[in-house]
Structures are given as C-alpha cells and as structure tokens.
Amino acid sequence: MRAGLTRALCLMAAPLAAILLMAGAASDPAEALHDPGQEARARALFREVRCLVCQNESIDDSEAELAGDLRRIVRQQVATGSTDTQVRGFLVERYGKFVLLKPPFDAGTAALWAAPFVVVLVGGLVIYRRSRKMGVDAAPLTPQEREKLRALDL
C-alpha cells in the first residue's frame, strides 16, 4: 500500500524532478533563523529528516515544497526551545518513523543496530577458533638459525 503511495507520489513528482534536483535548499537565507546557534542545530536536524515525497533525500538537500514545510516546522520548534529529541518525537508522531533517516533504537531496529557488532564479533570468533586449531607448523627458529637467515639476505 505504502509502496504504491510512494510510487504515485513519485509519478506526480516526476515533472518536478528538476526542481527537486536543484538541491542544497536549506541554505536559502530567506528561511534561516536569526540565532546562528539555533540555525546550526536546525541544520543538523535537517540532515536526519527525510523529505517524504522525494525519492531519497534529506530535507536539508531537497527543494520540494514539502521539504520546505518540514524545514519550517523544525526551525519553528527549535526557535521555541524544543530539544532535538522533542523535535524528532514531534515529527515521528506526525509522519511515522519513516521520516527519520537515522532510525531510532527500539525493539524493531535493535537487529539493525546490533548487526555490525554481531558480524564482527562472530567473524572474529570463527577466525580465532580456526587459527587456534591451525597452530604453527614448526618450532620457532633458534638464534643461530635466525642469524643464518639474516646472512642470506633474502
């Protein structure tokens, strides 16, 4: 259902594609907040928020109308003193988790966040056990042998 919706939105957006691609939108001075600290915070948040009608862009990049609306909402919230977490919570409540490019850690995304660590650990463990089994095939060189080897200068 949602895939269908996205596709429909994409089709509608197709004639607008050019505008969507003229990106880097959030730097428009007409939109910026006066307080540079707040503006910087808003910009950092923009990079984590998806432009819902675009194919895969953050609202920091997109010039779509909806992205502009989302930027306005985020800036408003930042200006009225909401914390980053509150802003994200507000967006998720309104648009669902899909709106966040960085998925929040919860039961449904635990596997996603854990995956990299699990893979490295399991892979490392497998390699460690194999290397233990393999052992080294010969006794270490004696100092005399080492000296001889150095003299050979390979």
């Binding site: 998806r50 895969n56 899909f98 390699i127």
Partner: protein, 662 residues
C-alpha cells in the same frame, strides 16, 4: 531494417549462448577437444552477435529512428550526438543490452586468453559463462527487447532526462557495467573449480586478472558516478548511501576482499574455500544490484528504468544463479584442501583481518539497504535507514581496518615479527601525528574527526611509502642497490603501493571536505556580492543563452580573492523537451580544493530582480575522486604485471623451483 537486424542478432546471441554452454559442458564431459573448441567458437560468436545487436541499437539512436519504441522514449533529434549514443544505455532495455555485451565480452576473453588454462577448467568456465549469457540474453530478448517497433512512429522523441545529459554520466555506465559483469568471470571460474573439486595456487592466479580488471573498472565507474553527483546535483554531495549507490558498493567491497584473499590462496594455498565463496558473492551482489536498481523496490534518488514486473523476473534470475552457485559451494567446498598454515601474526593473518572487515562492511551495507524491506514486511510500517546510520556504523569499522593496513603490508608470510613491523613504520607514525596536529592547527577544522581523518590519511600514505622503502632497503643498502631493487620490483607491488596511497588520498579528501566546507547563500541583484571563505563573489551580469536543446539564464560571477579577479559562469538551464530546469554549476579549482557556485532562481525584491547564489568552498574535494582513481590505476598496474599473464604461469613456477634449488 536496422532494428530488425538487431533483434535478429539478439535472438541469435541467445541461441549461441545455449550452444556455448552445451558444447563446453559436453566437451568437458567426453573430454573431446572438438566439442570444447566448438564451445569456445560459440563464445566468440555470442560476443559478435551481441555486439551487432548493441551497435544496431546505437544506429537507431544516432539516426533518431522513432519508430523504435525505445528510441522514441529516450531520444530527441535536438540532442547532441554524444547523448544520443549515451541514451543507448539510458533505459532498462538498453542497459540490459550493455550488460549482455559486457557478459559475452568477458566470456570471449576467457576463450581467447585462456590458452594455458587446464582444458577442463576452461571449458567449464566458458560453459557457466554461457549459461549466464543464456539467462540474461533470454531476459533481454523475451521481456526487455529494445528493438520493439511502434505501430505509429511519433514525429519527435521524449528525450533523455537532462541531468543525465552529461559527459561523465555518458561514460559512467560502460565502466560500471564492465565492473559489475567482470565479476561474472570470477563467478564462472568459481563454479568451474567447485565442479572440478580443485582450488589451488594456480587457480587463484588465473582468477586474479579478471578480478583485478572488474574491480578497477567498477572503481572507475563508481567514481565517475560520484563525481557526476558532486557537480550535477547542485550542492556538492558526493555519496548519499542511497540504495543504488550501495548496490554498486557491495560488489566493490566484496571484490576488494576477493583481491586480497586471492593473494593468500595464490601465494600460500590457504583459504581456498573462502576465496571461491567471495568469487560467487561478488557477482551475486552485482546481480542483486541489477535487480535493486530496476525493480523500484527501494526508493532511490538514482532509481532508473524502474519496472516492478520485470524486476521480479530479475529477482528470479538472481535466486536461481546465486542459489545454485552457493548450493554447489555448500556441497563441494568441504572437499577443497587448504594448505599453507600460518601464525596469527603474519601477512596471511593481516589479510584475514582485512577480509573480515571488508566482508563485514559489505554485510553492513546490505543490512542497511535491505532492512527497511524486512521491517515493512514484518510490521507494515515503512522505515528509513539513511546516511546517518551508515556513517555511524561503516566509518568506525573502516577506520579500524585502515589503521592496521600499513602494518599488515610490513608483515612477512607465515610468521611475522610484529615488533619489527611496527619499528619499520615509525616514520609513517610520525607523519600521521604531524598531519593530525597540523590539521588541527592549520586547516581550521571544526571537529576532532577531521584531525583523526587527516592522521589516518597521512598514516596510510606514509605507510605505503615506508613499505616501498623497506622493500628496496632504502637507507639500509647503498643507493645504487636500492635503485636496482626498485627497478626489479614486480609491478604488482607498485600497484599495491599506489592503491594503498589512493586509499589514503581518499581519506584525506573525504575528511577535509566533510569537516571543512564553507557554505554561503544570498539573493543578490546585479552588482551585489556574497562572501564565501576568502572569496567575494559579485554578480556582474545575467544573460540569456541558447544551447542546442535548452535555453539558459547565465550569471557572470566575478570572483575576487587575494590573487586577483576571475570570472565564473554558472547557468540555470531549461530543457523544453522535458520541461525541466537544471542547474549547471560552475566550479573553479584551486589545487585540490573547489570553489563551487550555483546560480539559483530569479526572485523579485523591492521591485528589482535578484538571483539566489549559493557558493561552497570545498577544501580538498578533488582528492575524494583522485584517491579512487589512484586505486583503479594501482589495479591496472598490477594487471599489467607479467606474472599475472596466463602464459607466464608455467614459467613463473619453473623459475620459482629453480630459485628454491639455488
């Protein structure tokens, strides 16, 4: 008429690839040279017929034959010739034809250059390649035929998306597809080895040239695409962790792992099963990419030629090809004999770590790319896994593997002296620390991450040079002796040095660009200016210009800096055929850094017109693209190493034995 010729050639290629597979397998089964030769001949004929089909389509595009549906949908008489040609691979049908051209081309290279391969292995490889050709040519001929005619030909075509009308993007797909499909040879070699039940040093050596070629081409292809995004999408982004980018990145990572594990198998006969597994995996990821890009299953900014129905057929092809490959692997791999024991601290050990991290990286990219699909299937809710997630998981992992890289190259085979390796790197360590602290002080980087990136980049470059110096005993032996050693170094080792320097260069560019970029935007009237970094940009003129298939508003921007005045001419183009507006960025390079200027839309302020100008100072941005090109060049130099030529295999073995006796 040309279109019919093309369609005929396509169907003929399909039939010939069946013959290629049939004759080759029969030749292997009955150990019959005539049948084997017929298989090889069929491989060449498949290439010729596929090339005929490909060039027939190209002729249709060049002559703007709009009675061909594919041409009508993707071309336009106004388009410059280059983009008429590039439009051949700009659609679903045409891009699959390019895929087939690469596939049959690589199959033919095995037939032509594989003279010294054992007959059985060669036949099986060509046979498997024929089966792949059968599947993909069949797909193209039956459900994705680019030669279908329209009952009523339109007077004018629908043209190609203007943002794709770009010289870099025109040549990006041929490189990318050659890379993707180059791994098909490795896949076929892997299947052949599994059937033969033998994976040894010789096999690894035979596979390496194709793996190197495929990986280098893929590197160039990805870099071109990334560079295109950098200057065409209009805000200087170059990597978005977009599903389509990830689709090309997964085979790249696996290919990089494969190049390293194949060395271990070649030099020490160790890890044969793992090398074969990576060989199967690389092309499986290529096929996964072909499916992801065209199925529309994931929303992507680059999604192209999306067609869910045909996407599911591609998924079927992927399932059958990869599925049978891995099943065969599960069945036969336990029979492969591993040789070459080694201690954990050794060159082999370091390469195992390299493979652990590269394979994990590929798996991370796959997890992040496909997780939303699983999540939605399970919960019914959509989920985004975007750039922030990838940056958090991928970057630290890569930092670890890059940190151990220089030490790994210093270790000797079998059993190494870790302390000695570290001692040889003291100069590189100093360079890294100097780069890191120097970066903090001089480049005015904002965060500690930039300093870490600088240190890591310096460590990689200096480490690669230190390894070269160690090899030629620079400073330990007389200079003439070092020079003599340098002349006699195998090209493969220069290739390695260059590729590793390339990694360092990329890390430098990526860190400095990401953390040091300056951005400014302002709506200015003619005569007004905007300040970015040390530059003052003044809009001095706005003019209308007429292009071949667009009209444009062109701003003339005077760039004032300490070194004087220069002019930049960014444009905002309107393509009437597509009714699209596209920005033409103006970039001025200052050494490795770029001043990047975008000419935005016209606005009215207080009754007079003004234009939004966005300007970016992207320090060291060129290194982001230069680094990967160095990696690809390193791959190409390794490829030119005579030791890797097939005919040299026997000679090299003879020399090695002679050397061991002496």
């Amino acid at each position: 008429m040309i279109a019919e010729l093309g369609a005929f050639a396509l169907v003929l290629a399909f039939a010939l690839s069946a013959a290629q597979a049939g004759f080759s397998f029969a030749g292997r089964y009955w150990r019959n040279a005539a049948l084997r030769g017929a298989g090889e001949g069929a491989a060449l004929a498949t290439l010729l017929t596929t090339a005929t089909a490909f060039f027939a389509l190209m002729v249709c595009f060049i002559t703007s034959d709009f009675s061909v549906a594919n041409v009508a949908a993707n071309s336009h008489t106004d388009k410059p010739l280059l983009y008429k040609i590039a439009a051949v691979w700009g659609s679903h049908e045409g891009s699959m034809l390019l895929w087939n051209l690469a596939l049959t081309g690589f199959g033919a290279t095995v037939a032509i250059w594989g003279r010294d391969l054992p007959a059985g292995l060669k036949s099986l490889t060509i046979g498997v390649q024929g089966l792949l050709g059968l599947v993909f040519l069949g797909y193209t001929a039956l459900v994705s035929n680019p030669f279908l005619r329209l009952a009523v030909a339109p007077v004018e075509g629908a043209s190609l998306n203007p943002i794709l009308q770009d010289p870099f993007l025109a040549i990006h797909p041929p490189f990318l597809y050659s890379g993707y499909v180059g791994f098909s040879v490795v896949f076929s070699f892997a299947i052949a080895a599994l059937i033969e039940g033998r994976v040894d040093a010789a096999w690894a050596r035979w596979v390496r040239p194709w793996a190197l070629a495929a990986w280098s081409l893929l590197t160039v292809g990805i870099t071109l695409g990334s560079f295109w995004a950098y200057y065409e999408l209009g805000w200087g982004g170059w990597w978005f962790w977009d599903p389509v980018e990830n689709a090309s990145f997964m085979p790249w990572l696996v290919g990089a792992a494969l190049l390293h594990s194949a060395i271990v198998t070649e030099k020490r006969g160790a890890m044969p099963g793992w090398t074969v597994f990576l060989g199967l995996l690389a092309f499986s990821f290529s096929m996964l990419g072909a499916f992801l890009v065209r199925s529309g299953i994931l929303t992507s900014v680059h999604a192209f030629a999306v067609d869910p129905k045909r996407g599911s057929i591609l998924l079927g092809i992927l399932a059958v090809a990869a599925g049978s490959g891995f099943s065969l692997f599960a069945w036969r791999a336990p029979m492969l004999k591993a040789g070459g024991l080694f201690a954990p601290v050794s060159r082999e050990g370091a390469l195992v770590l390299n493979n652990l991290f590269l394979a994990t990286a590929a798996l991370i990219v796959m997890t992040g790319t496909l997780y939303p699909l699983g999540y939605q299937a399970a919960t019914g809710q959509p989920l985004s896994v975007g750039a922030p997630w990838f940056n958090l998981t991928f970057a630290p992992l890569m930092a670890v593997v890059l940190f151990i890289l220089p030490a790994g190259t210093m270790l000797s085979w079998k059993r190494a002296d870790a302390l000695g390796a570290v001692q040889r790197l003291w100069a590189a360590g100093l360079a890294a620390v100097a780069m890191g602290t120097g970066g903090l002080l001089l480049v005015q980087t904002k965060t500690a991450f930039a300093a870490i990136g600088l240190a890591l980049g310096g460590w990689l470059i200096a480490g690669a040079l230190a390894e070269l110096a160690f090899r030629v005993r620079l400073g330990k032996a007389p200079l003439t002796e070092s020079l003599r050693r340098l002349r006699h170094l195998p090209r493969a080792s220069f290739g390695m040095t260059l590729a590793h320097i390339g990694v360092g260069v990329f890390v430098l560019g990526a860190s400095v660009e990401t953390h040091g970029r300056i951005e400014a935007a302002r709506a200015v009237a003619v005569g007004e200016s905007v300040q970015v970094g040390q530059f003052t940009l003044t809009l001095s003129d706005v003019a209308s210009v007429e292009g071949p298939n667009y009209t444009a508003e062109r701003g003339t921007v005077r760039v004032t800096s300490a070194s004087g005045d220069t002019f930049l001419k960014p444009e905002r183009r309107f393509y009437p055929a597509n009714r699209q507006t596209v920005s033409q960025v103006a970039i001025q390079s200052h050494g490795p850094s770029d001043l990047y200027v975008v000419f935005g839309e016209r606005r009215e302020a207080q009754g007079k017109p003004s234009w939004l100008i966005r300007a970016y100072w992207n320090p060291w941005a060129r290194l982001i693209f230069g680094g990967p090109l160095l990696m690809a060049l390193g791959g190409a130099i390794s490829l030119s190493d005579p030791r890797l030529r097939l005919a040299a295999g026997a000679r090299a073995r003879a020399t090695a034995i002679a050397g061991a006796k002496a």
